[in-house]
């Protein structure tokens, strides 16, 4: 429905009836044209003002010199930076690999859980058990258990690196969540899509692969972006089992110097990575919403 519908004035007006002129200056009003940038400018100013004031209060505090020395020591930051950055590079690589595994395992589990053929029942049950188990345990506990526990067993033929098993723990834990997200996306696909595919002769499996899953993935993109961002920083949990990621490297520096600036460096690097991802997530959510509104209208 258009928002510009005028109230019905009847058709009796005949030839003399003319529409009122368009409201004045809608397109060339400099105030309206400037409004968005003015608002952005104001928001920027207020942000600078608030945080500036905060910074001023903090820096003028009595303890500030000590805080600065401990947390914002430029020399310490520069000294720690190369090692922390190297660690952060490891974070990013683990993140990408673990993410790929999670997205694949999650979708496989969701498909198994959503297929309705009777002979799938035992598999469905297994997936449900899996989800209950891995969603119910803290990731940290799993990382410790897998990262320290399994290498200690010295199992022949299996990798014995803590990093590998810690990453496996993350994949297992996150996949349980991701599976449920995919499943909600699958459930949200209209029942008529199943009926249409079936009536065309597609098997349940073909229906899932060619018609349901592509729509489900599109449905859950915003929710999935949230997981992607969360995982990006949760990779740091692996530092607990000795993986020399950014947090671990920063910790090592802290331990030898009793200066926490290296942790601040790591924090900065994480923000540098996660904030763009968060904005990307916002963008995808917005686009998704626009798409839905377009269809709805």
């Amino acid at each position: 429905m258009s928002h510009t519908n005028l109230p019905d004035q009847g058709s009796a007006g005949g030839a003399t009836r003319r529409p009122p002129p368009p409201p004045p200056g809608r397109n060339h009003d400099w105030r309206e044209a400037l409004a968005p940038s003015l608002i952005s400018l104001l928001s920027l100013l207020s942000i600078i003002l608030v945080f500036g004031a905060l910074a001023w209060v903090i820096t003028s505090a009595e303890q500030w010199p000590r805080i600065k020395l401990q947390f914002f020591n430029v020399d310490a930051m520069i000294a720690a930076f190369p090692r922390v950055l190297q660690g952060f590079w490891i974070n990013m690589r683990i993140w990408l690999i673990v993410l790929a595994c999670i997205l694949i395992l999650g979708i496989a589990l969701a498909v198994i859980r959503s297929l309705r053929a009777p002979w799938f029942a035992p598999f469905r049950l297994m997936v449900i058990l899996y989800i209950d188990l891995f969603r119910g345990l803290p990731v940290l506990l799993l990382v410790l258990l897998f990262g320290f526990g399994i290498p200690a067993l010295n199992l022949p033929g299996l990798p014995s690196s803590s990093l590998f098993w810690g990453a496996v723990a993350m994949v297992l834990s996150y996949s349980a969540y991701v599976c449920e997200i995919y499943r909600s996306g699958i459930d949200a696909v209209h029942e008529g899509q199943w009926a249409a595919a079936k009536s065309l002769g597609l098997t349940e499996w073909q229906t899932m692969i060619y018609t349901i899953l592509p729509q489900a993935v599109r449905n859950v993109m915003p929710a999935m972006m949230n997981i992607v961002v969360a995982l990006q920083k949760d990779v740091a949990l692996l530092s607990i089992i000795g993986v020399r990621d950014a947090v671990r490297e920063a910790q090592i520096y802290t331990a030898s110097t009793f200066n926490y600036s290296s942790l601040i460096v790591a924090a900065g690097l994480f923000l540098l990575a996660t904030i763009p991802m968060a904005r990307l997530a916002d963008y995808i959510t917005r686009r998704d919403r626009a798409r839905r509104l377009q269809i709805g209208g």
Partner: protein, 247 residues
């Protein structure tokens, strides 16, 4: 020999009896309209024919072969019975062309080239040729329903089932879809049609069946049914329809 025959088809949804021992036979080239209030079981009956809904009791035959017969395999029945739905049910993530070629390629093993050529030809026939690359959401309701018809006809089915195909359309778009049905009738397509468009049913049907409470209460040729309904309930139903200005 009837093309489609239903014998004592019974269906429960939970404890709710939806179809009560329904008998129906549809001859080749015959157009049968199922009418009745919502909840009378007409859509369920229609979906039993191509096994989208599995009947609890009773038998359904296509050319005297039970539709449960092994010889149909998984695909055979759907190759020979097409269905068009009320809400089009096109696949929104696929273009019109991909909507049409999905089943021919994945189910019937046709090559992409062959399937697309056939799809394009059918689209042209229905005046939809220039929309091959469009996505369903870019089309009007009437256009989407036309694509749904083309999709159902891609396998050259012997029987076409239509499930309230105009119910979701804006009134001004109903005509173009009804036109397609008339054209299909002229070409001799066997059809079973669930509809609320009584005027249309009168025009196009060879036989009209009135359903209530999961049974066919009355059936006959449209002239008799609409002018002199025998059953009191049929009369009451038609009176309500006339009151609503739909006939």
């Amino acid at each position: 020999m009837p093309r489609v025959q239903l014998a004592e088809v019974t269906k429960y949804f939970g404890d709710n009896l939806v179809l009560d021992q329904v008998d129906l036979s549809v001859a080749q080239h015959e157009v049968v309209c199922l009418i009745g209030a919502s909840g009378s079981g007409k859509s369920t009956l229609l979906r039993c024919i191509n096994r989208l809904v599995k009947a609890d009791y009773g038998d359904i035959y296509l050319d005297d072969v039970p539709v449960t017969d092994e010889s149909f395999g998984k695909v055979g029945l759907h190759k020979r019975i097409g269905i068009v739905f009320q809400s089009y049910n096109l696949f929104p993530h696929l273009t019109v062309l991909d909507n049409l070629t999905l089943a021919p390629r994945k189910v019937h093993g046709k090559s992409k080239k062959e399937a697309e050529a056939q799809a394009q030809e059918q689209l042209d026939r229905f005046g939809m040729g220039r929309f091959a690359k469009a996505y369903p959401e870019q089309l009007s309701g009437g256009q989407q329903q036309r694509v749904a018809f083309v999709r159902a006809l891609m396998n050259k089915p012997d029987v076409l089932l239509l499930d309230e195909v105009t119910a979701a359309l804006d009134p001004e778009l109903v005509g173009e879809v009804l036109g397609i049905i008339k054209e299909l009738k002229a070409q001799g397509m066997t059809m079973v049609i669930v509809t609320h468009e009584m005027g249309f049913a009168r025009d196009v049907a060879d036989r009209v069946c009135f359903l209530e409470g999961g049974r066919i209460l009355e059936e006959g040729n449209p002239t008799d049914m609409f002018n002199e309904p025998q059953h009191e309930r049929t009369r009451a139903f038609l009176d309500r329809i006339i009151e609503a200005g739909r006939l």
